[in-house]
């Protein structure tokens, strides 16, 4: 299989990730609950993950909250900053992981900036919305549908200028674009562990500049007599037993990224993207591409997008079609009715795989090859 769906999850992990998962399953008990060797071994695995994340994202280990997914982290962050009915500014490219929790809270949602690959529009509209007042802002770093890299540093600066706390959804950028939590100044940054960070599914990270509001209450292995949650991070936001094998694997993914370099991986993905965009255009496909694009693209195949993805699957190519859990992004780009086929490159993408994909796509091109 040629895997071009890294936007959904990284399918092939570095071998040390698999080994760490298995080793943790065999040797670890419950972290932060006991003093015997297997419990201590688990606690050490968990702390190693916090340290590896803190090193990669430039923060302190105790600011790294371990979550079950990026969605989990976003829910914690949104509930920490947004009150019922509060006004929130979001970009026009948000995932349902952002919009659904806001809808559930009854937030007044202001969508700002809907033009693809247009930083000027994004920033102008975003500032206009902030100027009208907002309780919080939530924005994605990279659109999961189109790969549009938003001008998040400037958006962060605007939030600070207008005194609006903000959350960054780094679901598609973590592991491909360097992020410094310290210099970025976000209240929260949420990310999955299983995409660009190369860990197993069921892992995520939430970087926190404030203690936040617990989404769940329960045991933390500390302050057990108190009936309210501890005030300190990370335990405050981590009730229940942590996914030790998952985070042991994620630690290895994070170390791999540190050794290879996030920029190196991002450049590799971008090279494949450019190659793919020009190839699809030669085939007469409508491709959504522009400046400020990461290693993800969407295209219209000239037939139903799900049928196109199915044909590609039969030829051994894995891509994702449809709405990609991001109706807002499709609405912004005018593709809500049709959906798109998404191609997303990962850390291990090879030029030959892009060629193979283009050969497969040429089979339903309307331009004779």
């Amino acid at each position: 299989m040629i895997y071009l769906d890294s936007g959904a999850t990284s399918f092939h992990k570095p071998p040390q990730v698999y080994r760490a998962v298995m080793d943790a399953m065999r040797s670890c008990a419950n972290p932060g609950r006991g003093g015997y060797p297997a419990a201590t071994a688990a606690a050490r695995r968990i702390y190693a993950c916090r340290e590896a994340a803190a090193e990669l994202f430039d923060c302190e280990p105790q600011q790294v909250v371990l979550t079950g997914s990026c969605t989990h982290g976003l829910n914690i962050a949104i509930r920490s900053l947004v009150r019922s009915g509060g006004r929130v500014v979001i970009s026009g490219f948000e995932h349902n992981a952002v919009t659904r929790p806001l809808h559930a809270l009854g937030a007044e949602i202001r969508v700002a900036g809907r033009k693809l690959f247009d930083w000027e529009d994004t920033l102008t509209r975003f500032e206009e919305a902030l100027r009208r007042g907002a309780e919080a802002a939530v924005f994605t770093h990279v659109s999961n549908v189109f790969g549009y890299v938003l001008p998040v540093e400037q958006m962060a600066r605007l939030c600070r200028q207008y005194g609006v706390p903000f959350i960054l959804d780094a679901a598609q950028s973590a592991g491909s674009i360097p992020v410094s939590f310290r210099s970025f100044g976000a209240d929260f940054i949420a990310m999955p562990g299983h995409k660009g960070l190369l860990g197993p599914q069921g892992t995520g990270l939430l970087l926190c500049a404030q203690s936040g509001k617990p989404l769940l209450q329960g045991g933390t292995g500390s302050d057990s007599i108190r009936q309210d949650m501890p005030e300190d991070l990370p335990e405050r936001l981590e009730p229940g037993t942590l996914n030790v094998p998952g985070f042991a694997g994620l630690t290895q993914g994070l170390r791999y990224l540190r050794n290879v370099g996030v920029k190196t991986i991002g450049s590799r993905e971008h090279r494949q993207l450019l190659h793919c965009v020009s190839g699809l255009r030669r085939l007469g496909m409508q491709v959504f591409s522009g400046p400020h694009q990461a290693g993800t693209l969407s295209f219209l195949p000239g037939m139903d997008c799900e049928e196109a993805a199915e044909k590609l699957a039969q030829l051994g190519i894995a891509v994702r079609a449809g709405i990609h859990c991001a109706p807002l992004a499709h609405e912004s780009a005018g593709t809500l009715a049709t959906g798109t086929v998404r191609v997303s490159f990962g850390y291990d993408c090879e030029p030959g795989e892009t060629e193979e994909f283009l050969r497969a796509a040429s089979k339903f091109s309307r331009i004779p090859q």
Binding site: G32, G35, R44, Y47, E51, Q62, D223, S224, E235
Partner: protein, 84 residues
């Protein structure tokens, strides 16, 4: 041999303290806090040798790693809280 115990609010804080002290060559061991030392229930502490306690407390304060209490082992082996 006399020991000191520094108690922390959570395992994460105790681990952070352990890392900082070990980086500076101060020997310490991460343990569950004895129940009588921790009013709020379960917790973790660092046990260290007497000669390391002063620089250890300074290092923890400099790094912003807050601890709860410090206990010293007396000549009779009994532990008592130390005013820091």
């Amino acid at each position: 041999m006399r020991f000191y115990y520094i108690t922390f609010r959570s395992v994460t804080y105790a681990q952070r303290g352990e890392r900082i002290l070990q980086k500076e060559g101060i020997r310490c061991i991460l343990l569950r806090t004895p129940r009588w030392m921790e009013e709020q229930g379960c917790g973790y502490c660092l046990r260290l040798w007497a000669e390391g306690v002063k620089p250890a407390l300074q290092l923890l304060q400099m790094a912003g790693v807050s601890y709860r209490k410090v206990y010293i082992q007396g000549r009779d082996g009994q532990l008592e809280e130390m005013t820091v």
